[in-house]
Symmetry: none
Subunit: 251 residues, 2 copies
């Protein structure tokens, strides 16, 4: 999907924004950049802000019109600060990425079009788009930096592209965990050991246990401990019991 997406900047006035756009694209695995009638040069500021994504600047197509930039694209998505006079199919970045993914799956090229720093896209340009996307900014401060808008859209495209990788085996909290989780039985033995230790140190009165073990089960139960953690905790309990036994035997 990501190699079917083209980022199109129209009449950008700040070279730093073009550089930052290249960096944002490369971070998200998108490489195809077109500059329509750019005002800024690809100068040293652009290179600094590209920060290692210079090949995207080097390979950028520079064209005169939006038409040329999107000629081979089937889906042209315009970024819009707000809905204009003429209502247009408008979506948020997430819905936009979902539609783009669908189009990409059918072999289509997709253009994401970003307007001028000062004034965005013109109504004429917006009307050449299949779809408008609006990043939901605060209504009192709605003007996003253009490279920031590129960042958000490219991020959503990447999230959509990555979404069909369910293989979640051996994951806990989304990361490969280093050790196997403890079994139910190992946890039960831990709770027994914990309870015995709490009695030994005089913190738990077996005759009036109240809610203590319930609260501890709730705490340790929701943490999903691995085997190494359970062993570590039981080592701590053993050391605690040793102290309690010495203390009690010497009373």
């Amino acid at each position: 999907m990501l190699d079917q997406i083209r980022i199109v900047l129209i009449s950008t006035t700040h070279s730093g924004n073009i550089g930052a756009t290249a960096r944002a694209m490369k971070n998200m695995g998108i490489a195809d950049l077109a500059l329509v009638d750019p005002v800024a040069e690809l100068d040293s500021e652009a290179v600094v802000r590209a920060s290692g994504a210079v090949e995207i600047l080097d390979n950028a197509k520079i064209v005169g019109t939006l038409e040329e930039a999107v000629a081979d694209c089937s889906m042209v998505i315009g970024t819009s600060a707000r809905s204009r006079h003429i209502p247009w199919p408008l979506c948020n970045p997430r819905e936009c990425a979902s539609k783009a993914k669908q189009a990409a799956g059918q072999g289509n090229k997709i253009a994401l079009v970003f307007g001028r720093e000062s004034s965005g896209l013109t109504n004429e340009e917006l009307q050449r788009c299949n779809l408008h996307v609006h990043i939901p900014t605060d209504e009192n401060f709605s003007s996003l930096n253009v490279a920031s808008a590129v960042q958000v859209l490219c991020y959503e495209m990447r999230m959509a592209a990555l979404a069909d990788t369910p293989d979640e085996e051996d994951l806990q909290w989304g990361v490969p965990w280093d050790y196997e989780l403890a079994t139910h039985e190992e946890l039960e033995r831990f709770y027994e050991h914990l309870e015995g230790t709490l009695v030994d140190i005089g913190f738990l009165d077996p005759n009036t246990p109240k809610q203590l073990m319930t609260r501890l089960r709730r705490l340790y139960g929701r943490v999903a401990m691995d085997k190494v953690e359970v062993n570590m905790m039981r080592g701590m309990l053993k050391a605690t019991q040793r102290q309690a036994n010495q203390s009690n035997s010497k009373k």
Copy 2:
């Protein structure tokens, strides 16, 4: 939700990045910025890049340590380029926003912590976080600009805030929770107490601590303890220390 979120930048070296962070925050309706030991000045470059979000710079708290910046926060989320040696609960920005929304619904403050431009957060800083968030960048070009990372996270926070999801107040892990979550500071005092107790019972040798406290921070950090639980744990630690003191004094 958005007014319960604090953005924390650590030792930022480029003033433009601080300005761009302020703009990204304001675009998404987030106003609370803390700068920990900043290297850059809030100079004209910062003001230019803030582009109208100058009051966020004016109101930014400048502090010396991460501790001070997050002392009143119950959920501290660190941005991480990749998983480190010891895996930590890791989520993507969308999952992160969902967890933050849940915590905010219970009245908690949330900190999103961003590291140095050159090297991110240190392992020690990451270990002070409850949760790590990773923006899924291309593996061959994974270093995001810090303000771009702020933009993506703030965008996801705003998307979560705007989503009219069912009323999840008073829920934790899907069930009604009875007490307020512990603050970062309360947790840190718990860790100190825990470490001291483990030394007292001879389980932790301060000269060769190995990874013990790291593993314990990972365990208790991911469980999101409430205030009652922390008090209960500290009661257990006190009872343990009493035994250890009696035992040691009678040797």
